[in-house]
């Protein structure tokens, strides 16, 4: 029962957030200087031409009516057609989404499988002999650099290096995963690596802090006192208890990665959602921008729900059914 009301609450608040986001983005794209007609027809078009175009796409109606039309259509799964390409937005997004998803998933996996072990290592070393040594300083510098280096800087460097010199991987040449897995991975490796630098650094840092907090817990001492091996203590007790903050961070990072993917897709010429939406913003292709932003918001909401559930499974004190109950 508690679980049911929790689901209901989360679903309602998620839906409310989506409606709010859609309203905001609807207003925002229309508030941008230079409308669709100006962008398409250029500065020398006549008033009649502009009016005609606006009428064709319903842009002459009031924003309220436009939103209502869009909203009712969106409820039935129709996100409109691109005013530039005349293609349905839903289908276009669906075909491009796998690229962005793959990019983000690869970066998140790198964060989990590289960042988490690095963080654990840093925490365990910080408590042991040689703490504050050269290794720790180098690690902290690298971490700080990784968090603060923007994708467009790192990405440009990588693109330049790999285009200028034969380093085994080439830039561009995307093929879908289903058609040619090896070729796909060869094309995706570099952009995913660029995207993952921030995720790895942030994850390593959060993991380190979380593990340091767990290391001082009495149950860790108790496990050591029972003669458990360091590896067993890490796996059975430390990782489980340090996981919640890391998982929450990974959710936030994945939202950030969706943003970073825009730049990386642009740089590496990948047919993903990010580059699609950026082009659409430039051309004032309203329907595309709306749907793209809505998709990102929906993903983020779903991810948050999933993480809340997983965190509750790991630590029953934080469980969704015990939320707000103090014991």
């Amino acid at each position: 029962m508690r679980l049911f009301t929790w689901w209901l609450r989360r679903a309602l608040s998620g839906a409310g957030t989506l409606v709010g986001v859609s309203i905001l983005i609807f207003i925002a794209v229309r508030a941008m200087p230079g409308g669709f007609a100006e962008t398409i027809l250029g500065p020398f078009a006549t008033e009649e031409q502009r009016a005609e175009l606006a009428e064709r796409y319903g842009l002459d109606q009031s924003v309220l009516v436009q939103y209502w039309n869009w909203f009712t259509a969106a409820l039935s799964g129709d996100f409109g057609t691109s005013m530039v390409s005349q293609q349905p937005v839903g289908a276009e997004l669906a075909s491009r989404f796998p690229v962005t998803a793959q990019l983000t998933v690869m970066a998140i996996l790198a964060a989990a499988f590289i960042g988490v072990p690095l963080g654990v290592l840093a925490a365990v070393r910080a408590g042991g002999p040689g703490a504050g040594g050269r290794g720790a300083v180098v690690g902290r510098l690298a971490g700080g650099l990784g968090v603060s280096l923007p994708e467009f800087v790192l990405g440009s460097i990588v693109v330049y290096l790999f285009s200028r010199y034969a380093l085994g991987l080439s830039v561009g040449g995307y093929v879908p995963l289903g058609d040619d897995p090896v070729g796909n991975l060869r094309a995706m490796l570099l952009p995913a690596a660029v995207l993952s630098v921030f995720a790895i650094s942030a994850t390593a840092r959060t993991t380190r802090d979380a593990v340091l907090n767990v290391l001082v817990e009495p149950y860790v001492t108790a496990a050591v006192a029972r003669g458990e091996t360091p590896w067993a203590v890490i796996r059975q007790h430390i990782l489980r208890n340090a996981a919640p903050p890391v998982l929450v961070l990974l959710t936030t990072v994945s939202a950030y990665l969706l943003g970073g993917a825009i730049i990386v897709e642009y740089l590496f010429n990948l047919p993903g959602v990010g580059s699609y939406v950026v082009h659409a913003v430039g051309r004032r292709d309203y329907a595309v921008v709306q749907a793209g932003v809505l998709l990102a918001a929906a993903l983020f909401i779903v991810l948050n729900v999933v993480v809340d559930l997983v965190v509750g499974l790991i630590d029953p004190r934080l469980g969704v059914t015990t939320a707000g109950r103090r014991t």
Binding site: E217, Y219, A222, A225, R226, G227, D315, R317
Partner: protein, 350 residues
Amino acid sequence: MNQLTPAEPVVVARDLVVDYLAAHGPVRALDGVDLAVDAGETVGVVGESGSGKSTLGAALGRLLPSRAERRHGSMHVAGHSVFDLAPQPLRQLRRDQLGFVFQDPIGALDPTMRVGAQVRRALRGRQPSPRRSTRDAVAALLDQVRLRDPARVARAYPHQLSGGMAQRVALAMAMAVQPRVLVADEPTAALDSQVRDEVLDTILALTRAAGTTVLWLSHDLNAVARRCARVVVMYGGRVVEDGPAHAVLARPAHPYTHALASSAPSHARPGERLTPIPGRPPLLAGPAPGCAFAERCRFVVDRCATERPPLARVNGQAVLCHRAEELRSTAALPLPARPTDIPAEIGGGR
């Protein structure tokens, strides 16, 4: 594993010196501890916070925090020199010979794991028969520590247990291996007073049945003296008095023990004033030049501040005090008439 002759003590600390490295320099936690405990003994280690008793307990399993450093001396448990063991034999010693019960019962259990799973981990590799009996073994262990409804406790998470239940679970895990030595560091400090006695009874009954040596670390001299045959009093990182419980409590030989006994609330009759010990425990940066208690002692003489007191034997006790003999002969340490609360069979001692 165990090459002991029965006569050899199971725990031997020799001149053990341990420092904690703090930002402003080292703090001496143990300042030359000498202690030998025979197999099967139940020893109460009494001292204020800061006396070094927890450090001593942790040293038994080499469980000192990383900022602690052993400067000198040795610790032998079951014939093994704890500080000289390689990681693997050290783990084996902890697993097979040592049990620990800590102060915070719920904190000592992993909050993300069901109690049954944690007890099973403590049992792992120790069950001769496979699978079938694991759950029974867990239930039997929980039953042994007198938990009602073991099956329900096994399914629970630690935060769903009361402090007393959690401490029984911790005890069950510590005793799962029938260790030779159990270190109980203030095991009842976090519990309600009515649960305390039950938990202590359980600890002592279980360890007696298993023949386990018990080191019970506590700040409560009277509680310890009631239940242990032998009492060890620590002050300033040293063992200042060591002897049979009834003797230590009835005729304390060290001025500190005397002060401790007179300041205990259970000692006073209603309406009577308690005598607090003036001053505060020392914070040593290195070896104490003389007796660590000198500053607070009513019987202090010049050499107390400059000369470390040698071991003296007074009555049945071993005492670190320059004037121990003198104080005994002049009966300078009388105690107020006290309720007779030492059962004869324990008081009769070893």
